[in-house]
């Protein structure tokens, strides 16, 4: 089979994997260490292009093979599907990576695979490819490789010493979901390598501090991903799972992938279901709040209020539920309180904290620092004053303002005279249908 066809088939088979970032690792080019070779990594990652769906492309994202012996119901590569199959030779992957890298198409390689015979054989092939790439082709750029659940500890360990990032897919948020849709997988097999990689990373930090020539183990950390909308968890369940992943496994990132129906199956959403993009978007917002704003999952959602508000982002939603805490005084509030103000992010919050040491800040000053006043005005005072006199601190009024003009969601709210408290009764489809 031509390399062109393999690339087409195995890139297509890998496209639903979401984690294409190249961040978290910072390594100088090897020439500085006099060993020859090509490549370096930068800690913030680099996007090399954006595909037609608007997503950043940073890595050559491919499967080793889509010839999988498993039969996960949600997956286009599952055994029972009648599709074109292909498998790369390790050398082919190395050459593609090197040549793409030299031309600056990519930051590095993202290598995953369907299961060839069994987990160990699959992991061994992944390991062998990366070994070649690092040691024979002397590739020093970014490598993200999948840990295959059920593979031996030793193989995972050896791979980790050559990869920048490793990830084991959680696949589905709950063990029941997994049982239902991925009959060949089980939660324990997924969690074991996660735990192992976490332990490896922590041990490695110690080694690097204490021994001069300790090799790095997964320096860009571990990530994972789960599919959203193939099973029917509530959003509250999802954010709680994420929170646990960050806490228990020190994940660098948890990625969410809106389920795109590729297979017909009674236990799956029907083929004409649109991917739950808004839900995925809200999850990333909530994820950001947990990682950078100091929110807990149970502050964002709860048993009684288990799903995201389709009208408002979770931070605005939280603010409206806690109006009694506002307004917050810009010149006094501590960093974390500033972060709870809609329209203020980590960058502008830091700027405020450092600038107010020198001057008393007014609305104009904070606007220049990047605060989105359109959102923030309802929640702040500068030097004891609100921006406009007689501003109504009323949740219905603020909701409409926050939705912004020309927003079909606002039109929907106004035409149906919906109050803030009723918002949670609607889901996105209802709104969009009525709106159009």
């Amino acid at each position: 089979m031509e390399i062109m066809d393999k690339l087409r088939i195995l890139a297509d088979a890998a496209k639903y994997d979401v984690a294409c970032t190249s961040s978290g690792s910072s390594r100088k080019g090897k020439v500085n260490n006099h060993t020859g070779g090509i490549g370096n990594t930068v800690s913030c990652g680099i996007c090399h292009t954006f595909s037609a769906d608007g997503r950043c492309v940073s890595l050559l994202k491919i499967l080793m093979t889509n010839n999988c012996v498993y039969d996960c119901k949600y997956c286009q590569n599952r055994k029972s599907n009648d599709i074109e199959r292909a498998q790369f030779e390790p050398e082919e992957i190395c050459r593609l990576t090197m040549e793409f890298y030299r031309r600056n198409y990519i930051e590095g390689l993202f290598l995953s695979s369907g299961i060839i015979d069994n987990p160990d054989r699959t992991m061994e092939l992944l390991y062998r490819t990366i070994f070649l790439l690092r040691n024979i082709y002397k590739f020093n750029g970014y490598i993200h490789v999948k840990g295959i659940p059920g593979a031996s500890e030793e193989l995972i360990q050896m791979t980790g010493f050559m990869a920048d990032r490793m990830s084991v897919n959680l696949e589905l948020p709950t063990a029941e979901g997994l049982k239902l849709l991925a009959p060949n997988k089980n939660r324990k097999n997924i969690v074991t390598p996660m735990k192992q990689i976490q332990t490896g990373i922590n041990q490695n930090r110690y080694d690097i501090k204490n021994y001069n020539n300790a090799q790095e183990f997964v320096p860009a950390g571990q990530s994972t991903q789960m599919i959203i909308g193939a099973t029917n968890e509530s959003d509250y369940q999802l954010v709680s799972v994420s929170e646990a992943l960050y806490k228990n496994f020190q994940m660098k990132r948890v990625f969410y992938s809106a389920y795109v129906p590729v297979n017909e199956d009674s236990s799956l959403p029907s083929l004409d279901t649109t991917p739950p993009m808004l839900r995925e978007h809200r999850l990333y917002q909530a994820d950001f709040m947990m990682r950078f704003y100091g929110f807990k999952a149970k502050e964002i959602l709860s048993e009684d209020n288990p799903n995201f508000n389709v009208f408002l982002d979770p931070k605005c939603d939280w603010a409206l539920k806690h109006l009694e805490r506002y307004p917050i005084e810009i010149n006094k509030a501590d960093y974390y309180s500033l972060l709870r103000i809609p329209g203020i992010g980590p960058v502008s919050a830091k700027r405020i904290v450092s600038a107010r040491k020198h001057n008393v800040l007014g609305f104009d000053d904070i606007r220049k620092m990047g605060v989105v006043l359109k959102r923030a005005v309802y929640f702040i005072t500068c030097n004891g004053k609100m921006m406009y006199y007689n501003m109504k601190m009323n949740e219905d009024y603020i909701t409409r303002q926050l939705l912004g003009n020309n927003n079909p969601r606002r039109t929907f709210v106004e035409e149906n005279n919906i109050s803030y408290r009723q918002l949670s009764l609607f889901d996105d489809e209802q709104v969009l249908q009525t709106g159009s």
Binding site: M4, A11, V31, G36, I38, D53, G54, K61, V260, A355
Partner: protein, 256 residues
């Protein structure tokens, strides 16, 4: 009232830094408010201004840079450098004032956004960094038959040197050249050496040399990968355009 002196310096890092050195002498004589530094030729000459041409002195430029590096947090020098390569017309004067404030207030200048020049410099640096960051991802090399990698760019800001620093580490074992089509500058990097930048190079828009035999194959492989990796059900051209504005696509393999 003193007549405003407009000092005209060269549009380059050295030109502006050397201009700051000379500007300082004028400032001490005529007062801060009466001296301006400018690195673009004026469109209209103002009758009430006196225009003075400055010569670039590398020595003076080095003196100013060294002093800035020694006295302040490294971020100050970084800000100055990034501003000198920006497309901002008024950058020489903004920097002249920025540096004066730095000597007045020290490192605190990094936080004093209330001063308009400090705010301008911060914004300019962000824009330059942004463009540099975009280009270090979006730039595409073509393999020529003499085993040199060749790239063309047309950035708004003069980021060639920044790109050189990035790629000399990344592609240390390669011979490569990057051509800034608009500015007629070419950066040359020889395997395992530092790079050199040549000015005023006319190359017929970079259309010279012959591609290597296998170049077309890899370009096609990349295009296939690029088209395949998008999820059709999530097509979103607007998002793609926001993330990758059309002006960057001119020399990108996957769009041509």
């Amino acid at each position: 009232m003193e007549q405003t002196k407009v000092l005209l310096c060269e549009n380059s890092f050295e030109g502006i830094m050397s201009g700051v050195y000379d500007g300082w002498i004028y400032r001490n004589r005529y007062g801060r408010e009466n001296v301006r530094l400018q690195c673009s030729r004026p469109d209209n000459y103002n009758l009430f201004y006196e225009y003075i041409n400055l010569n670039t002195s590398i020595e003076k430029a080095v003196k100013v840079s060294e002093s800035v590096k020694k006295k302040f947090n490294g971020k100050v020098f970084y800000n100055i450098y990034m501003t000198t390569v920006s497309e901002e017309d008024d950058k020489a004067d903004i920097l002249f004032r920025y540096i004066q404030y730095a000597y007045d207030m020290g490192d605190r200048i990094l936080e004093c956004m209330a001063i308009p020049e400090v705010m301008s410099v911060t914004k300019i640096c962000k824009r330059v960094w942004f463009e540099y960051d975009h280009f270090r991802g979006f730039i595409r090399f073509t393999e020529m038959n003499n085993n040199t990698l060749k790239a063309k760019i047309q950035p708004k800001n003069d980021i060639l040197e920044l790109l050189g620093e990035h790629f000399k580490d990344r592609l240390a074992n390669e011979n490569f050249l990057i051509e800034d089509i608009g500015r007629k500058k070419v950066l040359l990097h020889k395997k395992e050496c530092d790079f050199v930048i040549y000015n005023n190079i006319v190359t017929d828009n970079g259309n010279y040399g012959i591609m290597s035999d296998r170049e077309k194959t890899y370009e096609d492989l990349w295009r296939v990968f690029f088209d395949t990796i998008a999820i059709k059900e999530r097509n979103n051209n607007e998002l793609q355009r926001n993330n990758l504005p059309l002006r960057y696509r001119k020399y990108m393999t996957e769009f041509i």
